[in-house]
Symmetry: C2
Subunit: 330 residues, 2 copies
């Protein structure tokens, strides 16, 4: 089924059209206007180029113009709701600008992160977005050495503009919702709000792969121990992440339903199925699209100040999972 063994070049098109190579070169884009080439010539060239299936080779053009037409993005992994949403948005914004995005997963390992950034740099990407960086300073150093503009998303760095979700705000809103749902007096130990699955240390350590993998189990132990100590499920439980929430469910779903009746459960991350429990679950959906929109705004503006940009998250009220499609992160 294969056909042509060698692709046509502008010289072939030049020969076929009777024009010169440079005229052919100018035809596809808009530069023929400045070069004052007649529209007729351009049309003629375009049509025979189309017939021959010619299109400028990215390598040659890139070599000449010192730009590859590629833009890079680093994410911890594809196989994750949040980062996949970011990929999807980055794709859309990039294509919209006529650029081809190269998205590479770092696997949450600083070493791998550096290994991933290097080929992106030698690919001559125009700029780079780094999401969930484990070693932002190292990445910044590499980018700066190559004079490459970059932004950080989700996890901040000091070497380039960072866009982060407003986690404090999100958690605060969530807490307020929980309190509205079930006024908490704090009269007894059980009548309080507890936070499960990571604290301040999470930023630096628990985001690493191994800890990440173990998060469900450890959250399950954590919540089981808490309930055991208190003699029942506390009035409010706020779970840090979906992974932890999964573990939390491991304990909570084994309990008789009436044990949960007077408790409110919340999670700082969102998943439509996770939201669908026999008890109400308050969730916060991170705005991955907004994060990337903001990142692209920085890129478009050519900003490079390291001021933190916050993007607000969205409150998800309990049991609304069927109001929106599973894949609808719009």
């Amino acid at each position: 089924m294969p056909r042509a063994s060698r692709k046509a070049t502008i010289h072939d098109i030049a020969r076929l059209s009777g024009a010169s190579a440079s005229t052919v070169s100018a035809a596809p884009g808009e530069s023929w206007r400045e070069r004052r080439i007649s529209e007729a010539t351009v049309e003629a060239i375009r049509s025979i180029a189309a017939a021959e299936g010619h299109s400028a080779t990215v390598q040659a053009r890139g070599l000449r113009k010192a730009r590859s037409g590629l833009v890079g993005m680093v994410i911890p992994l594809h196989d994750n709701r949040f980062f996949a949403s970011m990929s999807q948005s980055f794709e859309a914004f990039s294509r919209q600008r006529g650029l081809v995005p190269v998205i590479a997963p770092s696997m949450r390992a600083p070493q791998e992160e550096r290994r991933i950034v290097e080929p992106l740099i030698t690919c001559a990407v125009g700029y780079m977005a780094i999401a969930g960086a484990t070693d932002p300073d190292a990445v910044s150093a590499m980018c700066n050495a190559a004079n490459l503009r970059h932004v950080f998303a989700d996890l901040p760095g000091r070497g380039a503009p960072p866009v982060v979700p407003d986690n404090n705000r999100g958690a605060a809103d969530l807490t307020r919702c929980l309190l509205t749902d079930r006024p908490i007096t704090g009269a007894t130990c059980r009548d309080r709000l507890y936070f499960i699955g990571g604290g301040p240390a999470d930023y630096a350590s628990a985001r690493r792969t191994e800890a990440f993998r173990d998060a469900p189990r450890s959250a399950m132990r954590e919540i089981a121990a808490l309930c055991d100590r208190l003699g029942g499920v506390p009035a409010g439980v706020l779970v840090n992440s979906l992974t932890a929430f999964e573990g939390g469910l491991g304990h909570l779903s084994g309990l008789p339903p009436e044990d949960l009746r007077s408790s409110v459960i919340g999670c700082c991350d969102h998943d439509p199925f996770a939201a669908c429990q026999p008890f109400p679950v308050h969730m916060v959906r991170q705005d991955a699209h907004g994060l990337i929109r903001e990142a692209y705004r920085i890129i478009d503006q050519n900003a490079n100040d390291p001021v933190l940009r916050m993007v607000e998250a969205e409150q998800i009220v309990p049991r609304t999972f069927h109001d929106r499609a599973f894949s609808d992160h719009g």
Copy 2:
């Protein structure tokens, strides 16, 4: 913070090391052996190249060798568990071979699919994997015109080797599990097994974006109508996809728990949270990694026969969601 304005070239390194450009060119790889360059010279060049932060520009090398070092993959969208797993695997296999993967989402639209394939071709990708193709024949035509090897995954095409999940086998296994759980006599209409959320037509039409988005709602209507007609939840419900399952839950979770006690529910797709319901759920997890492994086997073997390769799916028994980490797709 930016530093060097222009990247060092082999000529710079040549000048600095006292060697010639061609010698510098041979140093990084293995070709210096055939060229009988002394190991000492190579080491010297390598060290000063490293010091200068030099690495061969992909554009120039690609132009010269007519290969870009890129490999392409087309997926319907990033923001989906199944396809994200495929991306993740494709990444790993590609990097393992020293190639940079470019993964582009087609949004399940044939027109977009063609728009996406074109830049990949002009990027001179070495080969291409197309997952969930909506118009495989058009893609094959484009690839063949560019003499580009390619394989299809998930959805087959006739123009290149296809790797597909063994859906029939998966559904059959699932059905057997359901029947084991709750022997179905078929004595009454309710005492039967029903299939929700798509039939044979799904392959061609319902996979389209619009239908995809509407799937939860339509599945919810479908199952509600069924239960209404039968006067209750049937003995067995097999749901086609996660999106449909989400809609199904919209109905089922509103029912009193005892209404579901004598029914078995199954889904042809898998999600750890979806599996965590107040009633047992049988699920099938597609082997995205296996699909890509097989696709890469085809690429490595340079095969191009259009014989269907099947990859088996994995049975997920009810309520095991906390046995594995959320992100652990092994």
